[in-house]
């Protein structure tokens, strides 16, 4: 019945939406920020812990939201681990471009694990679900407490 929705709800998204690996608060952290989507009530709090070399050692989150937003937060936490803040920030910009356009260049290895979320671009009302965690990420990296929205 929902075959045409498989582009949006790929198995990896359903899996991470249901069983997020990083869906927990970090007791020791260096940065945190929350993201709010007042239109739909989605909410995320993100925590980051840096390694001595300044790269992101760990990311964790607590979120209330749909499968898309939870999966996006979880895949984001995986994707930014081991990156410098500058790299993570750049990745956030590329991810948001991908979510809006659906274009994920094959030669961009950084987007590889995130490509399943590119299907969201066909659902304009759901793009913000996917991008909310990434706004919170930028806020945390910048030392802001709260994410600005688009």
């Amino acid at each position: 019945m929902f075959e045409d929705l498989r582009d949006l709800y790929q198995e990896v998204i359903l899996d991470h939406g249901r069983h997020p690996r990083h869906g927990h608060r970090l007791e020791a952290f260096d940065a945190t920020a929350k993201g709010d989507n007042p239109l739909c009530g989605d909410r995320i709090q993100l925590w980051l812990k840096y390694a001595p070399d300044g790269t992101i050692a760990k990311a964790g989150f607590e979120a209330r939201g749909c499968a898309i937003s939870i999966a996006s937060a979880d895949l984001m936490a995986e994707a930014v681990t081991g990156r410098t803040p500058a790299q993570a920030s750049a990745l956030s910009a590329r991810f948001r471009d991908m979510a809006r356009s659906g274009i994920a260049p094959d030669d961009d290895p950084d987007l590889a694990g995130l490509r399943p979320l590119s299907g969201v671009h066909e659902y304009p009302s759901r793009v913000k679900c996917a991008t909310l965690p990434w706004h919170a990420l930028v806020a945390a990296l910048d030392g802001a407490q709260e994410a600005g929205s688009e």
Binding site: M1, Y9, C40, G41, D42, G65, R126
Partner: protein, 414 residues
Amino acid sequence: MNVTTKPALLDLARIRADFPILRQSVHGKTLVFLDSAASAMKPRAVIEAMSGAMETQYANVHRGLHWMSERTTEAYEATRDAVAGLIGAPDRHEIVFVRNSTEAINLVAHSYGRGIMKPGQAVVISAMEHHSNIVPWQMLRDAHGIELRIAPITEAGELDMAAFEALLADGRVGLVAITHMSNVLGSYTPAERIAAIAHAHGARVLFDGSQAVVHRRVDVAALGADFYVFTGHKLYGPTGIGVLWGRRELLEAMPPFLGGGDMISSVSYARSTWAQVPHKFEAGTPAILEAIGLSAAIGYVQAIGYEAIAAHEAALTDHALARLSAVEGVRILGRAQDRGGVVSFTLDRAHAHDVATLLDRQGIAIRAGHHCAEPLMHHLGLESTARASFAVYTTHAEIDALADTLARVREFFA
């Protein structure tokens, strides 16, 4: 719950033929529109009244000395009579046109709240209000030293009448502002009892009839209301036109809300004087075409008749409650004895937004989110729900489609 189906007194096939949009398909599927509580579809009578006015009879109102303006003014003012007849207002001058319920409530919060109420007095709202009946009172509270009190609801989603009455006991409440029907839980509130209790404690009462007036006959005099507000677009009319009804002596005592053209008696640089009610509250060129559309919508509803509408929607609601509660994993919110055609629910395996996206791909439109009632959501311990709402054109088959598809949605998220 009454599950016996009352005979529908309306000709559903004919009614559906009156709404051109219902023949549209979405994602290649027949449209099943179950989001009428957000905004209802428009019958041909409304569409033609508005386009007909633009094609044959249109000018600004209340100012032209020419034929076009006179005819348009007649049509605009006829809407005031139509609204007065619809809600049992004793005096056509008590009908004030505004943009929507939100503006009507803001008008009362400003003109009655700041103009008549005194700092130290209180406003009582309920725990199941739309943001439109919360935020204007918060603004009044912060600007004018008015206390805001929240009457709780019971676990069933009905107004807790004992707690409500207790909130009025100290005699400081100047105004009670409560929904006549919850846009989330579907609960009707006992408006006559609320008004009697408010008056016994010296308070005035405003009802937000945005949902209620769509489903049942409203008689503001019989309810004992002091103010009643509703919006046109949920009543099969256009957007941009809403109604504030208020008792004439209250409207006359209240200062204007917005200043400008049309609301004055005379203007000089030293001072201006106000027009009589209702024009005192209608600054600027009004929503002329929208008023003409609202008139047609009221005529349409009255031609069907509220008895038939109420019976049809009661049968639909009973059917929806029975079918949805039988879907595994569905939890219905609120079980008020007296309820209208709105059913909010959650599905155990999926967030409301995911549910809405999957349903949409089958052509089924529902609302998902906090329904502009965040404090109520918080009270229910939820961030969002899915909501199906019914209108005069809704069929039992559409509710069956929703229930059947919800079961498949649940399998999808297994």
